[in-house]
Amino acid sequence: MGSDDSYNFVFKVVLIGESGVGKSNLLSRFTKNEFMHDSRTTIGVEFSTRTVQLDHLTIKAQIWDTAGLERYRAITSAYYRGAVGALLVYDISKHLTYESAERWLKELYDHADPHIVVMLVGNKKDLETLRTVPTEEAKDFADKKGLMFIETSALDSTNVEAAFNEVLTAIHKKVASKEVTRGSISAVTLSGSLGLTRESQEEQKGCCKS
């Protein structure tokens, strides 16, 4: 299903953050280049995939989206399981959503692989006039926590591609440099179909140690 094109890696990336910050729209902007003004609240989990080219590699990004407010505990664990990247999204125009970032981070580290690549994403950059979270403040916070940082706008597409691509690149670097543990590497699956091309070395490097 949906995996017709061959790829070298599948990276599972999760979107987390308060309800209403635009997670679902970030996802649809990235995977379908759509923005839904009338999108509904996410119930349970949804996900979407997009295959991207990074360097000479084909990476299938499997991006999971969940409800920001309600997290059914059992699902939460399934949601985080195997994730190698996370976008922690807040709304630059709502300071509260930024304040909760710390809590989200804790939950993420409680459930996900400790080596997971995390990016702090200030979304709704288009609402510059209503900004209540200064870029610098968020940037400092991200640096302190060792997170990547970017500000995006799913509405006007600003930085959406960049955000995901940077995360995917970082994941790939981690995978390639064997920084990740066996546990997380199992989440990065190999495409069996493309094994004999020149990428095979990459795959060997990145993935075959499990």
Binding site: G2, T41, I43, G44, L69, R73
Partner: protein, 590 residues
């Protein structure tokens, strides 16, 4: 049309209103013959009395379609007797022996017709019907069934009288014979076991008579002494004909092509079968009550949603407060000033929305609270955090803060609730918000949880009345609450799904296990949380909800399980063909 049914179903009323009251009157004054004759339209009378016309339908398809049934002596013999048996029963209404034999007959046609009508989905629907038989749990469903029939399909209206005819006779009978014998329905597990037998048989042989024999056997094995069961199944004969017709009619609908639609049809059919199977038994205790003074009951219970809620467990005051205009201006203003301080506190924190709606809403929140403030005092057993003083209550900071957080959440979600649906104009979203705020204020210990708006929305659409929608929503949430993360029902649903699939479709179950083991069934989460509300368009949501609610009284509290099962089984081949894993299936069902 739905509005009334929704309300009654939700509150589990004895809904005699037009349909039932009518048929009850007829039942008492006129012999059943007339009842059926009134609905002869789609179903030409085949014999001198329409009573036997009803029953005659069944032996015919029975014999015609399944000759093997003759292999079983009892079955064939009884089949031959059916029509007589039925007219006898209806007129005499006293011989247990007859109903015993009719019971077995009844099983044959019902299954055969199932098999004929719903080829691809017969597994699910039979499962559902079977549960209907085995698990009938709640009293008082004939009413809801009638209502159900009334609205479920516009074309199916003719079924009302058809159904009420056999039903009523049964009721009479039940009243005279067995109204005291009320048995607790078996727990789910037991039902599942029975289903297992049955489905295995179906899979193994695909042979109707045998299946039905098995059914009858298991049925009688289970409760040989249960004289109520005969009543259940005996009526199946009559009702399944209607069911079949209904199914056919529905399949003829222009929009009946979509797969979801098909499942729906099957389910509606199944559930109707379920009603007819079990509603009788359950009907009896209630019918006895309500027969005493149905009109009085109606007068009291039905006209005003307000009193309905009152009679449940919410005291009248909050609703009066909601329904009536706010208390007094002076009081409001006093409260408002207090509240504004609070709101200001919140606004500084989170009123950052671009539309500035938060401000507007906050002011209203103040008002809303004032409306509620007064009536709440005596009611809020659950919320104990606020302090009370005799005249003006002040609430603890904690309570207010919590409520404000909830209001903020509600605002976020209300704005996003089904915006594409025509009904949700700004004004109607405002209603939605009002209701949700009131509800959450009354249930502050739980607070607002995402999904609640989705559950409220269809009610508001159909009722288009804040007060009614509020009371219905409150009632609905009594069940749905359990599915939210603070309740435990979701895990039960998953566990049941797991058991059911494992038993009914081991091939699929194995695939699920092999592909990363998603037999946790998390992909059904939204289905259960919202009663499939997000999986369907509004019109279908109404049907499905109504079915689910009515099923509680007629077939099974767990009817949602069988809808879910039907959805999974409907697409089982696709799932198998594509060798789906968890992500695929989530994507697929989203």
């Amino acid at each position: 049309m739905y509005a009334h049914k929704f309300h009654h179903l939700l509150f589990g009323y004895k809904v005699f209103e037009s349909v039932e009251a009518e048929s009850m009157a007829e039942r008492e004054e006129i012999p059943p013959i007339d009842l059926v004759k009134t609905t002869d339209g789609p179903q030409p009378p085949t014999s001198e009395s329409s009573t036997s016309a009803v029953s005659n339908q069944h032996p015919v398809p029975d014999n015609a379609t399944v000759p093997e049934s003759a292999n079983e002596p009892t079955a064939s013999q009884q089949t031959a007797e059916v029509s007589e048996t039925f007219s006898e029963e209806i007129t005499i209404e006293s011989e247990p022996a007859i109903s015993e034999s009719a019971r077995q007959d009844a099983k044959l046609p019902d299954l055969e017709e199932e098999a004929l009508i719903q080829k691809e989905i017969n597994l699910e629907s039979e499962a559902a019907v079977e549960t209907g038989i085995n698990k009938s749990k709640e009293p008082s469903a004939a009413e809801s069934k009638n209502l159900m029939t009334h609205g479920a399909g516009k074309e199916v209206n003719t079924n009302i009288n058809l159904k009420s005819a056999p039903e009523n006779t049964n009721v009479l009978k039940l009243e005279t014979e067995i109204h005291n014998e009320y048995f607790q329905a078996p727990p789910l597990g037991e039902t599942l076991t029975l289903q297992t037998h049955k489905i295995k048989d179906l899979e193994g042989e695909r042979s109707c008579p045998e299946t039905s024999r098995e059914n009858t056997d298991s049925q009688s094995d289970k409760k040989p002494q249960d004289s109520k069961k005969p009543e259940d199944t005996e009526s199946t004969v009559c009702n399944f004909a209607e069911t079949k017709k209904a199914a056919e009619m529905e399949l003829e609908k222009p929009d009946s092509n979509s797969p979801v639609r098909q499942v729906l049809n099957a389910l509606q059919t199944a559930s109707r079968g379920g009603f007819s199977l079990s509603s009788h038994s359950r009907h009896s205790p209630d019918a006895v009550d309500s027969d005493d003074s149905p009109s009085a009951l109606e007068m009291e219970d039905i006209p005003a949603g307000i009193t309905c809620v009152t009679s449940e467990d919410i005291k009248p005051r909050p609703l009066i407060g909601l329904a009536a205009p706010p208390i007094s201006l002076a009081q409001r203003e006093k409260m408002a000033s207090e509240r504004l301080a609070q709101d200001h506190h919140l606004d500084t924190a989170c009123n950052t929305s671009p539309e500035g709606t938060d401000l507007g809403l906050s002011e209203e929140e103040a008002e809303m609270d004032n409306v509620l403030t007064e009536p709440e005092s005596g009611v809020m057993g659950g919320v104990t955090k606020y302090e009370e003083s005799s005249e003006e209550q002040t609430y603890s900071q904690e309570t207010l803060d919590m409520y404000l957080i909830n209001l903020h959440r509600i605002d976020k979600d209300v704005r996003r609730c089904d915006r594409t649906y025509w009904y949700f104009t700004t004004d109607n979203l405002e209603k939605l918000r009002n209701i949700m705020c009131s509800y959450v204020w009354q249930h502050l210990e739980t607070g607002y949880v995402q999904g609640m708006c989705d559950l409220l929305a269809p009610l508001l659409v159909i009722l288009d009345d804040e007060v009614m929608a509020f009371s219905c929503f409150t009632e609905l949430m009594k069940r749905m609450n359990q599915n939210f993360p603070h309740g435990g029902a979701m895990d039960t649903h998953f566990a049941n799904m797991r058991s059911l699939i494992q038993i009914l479709d081991s091939e699929l179950f194995e695939l699920m296990q092999q592909n990363g083991d998603y037999t946790h069934f998390y992909f059904c989460y939204r289905w259960f949380l919202l009663d499939f509300k997000r999986e369907m368009v509004y019109d279908d949501v109404f049907s499905v909800w109504e079915t689910i609610w009515a099923a509680k009284y007629s077939s099974s509290e767990h009817f949602v399980l069988f809808i879910a099962l039907a959805l999974v089984e409907m697409y089982r081949d696709i799932i198998l063909e594509n060798n789906m894993d968890f992500t695929d299936i989530i994507k697929f069902f989203n």
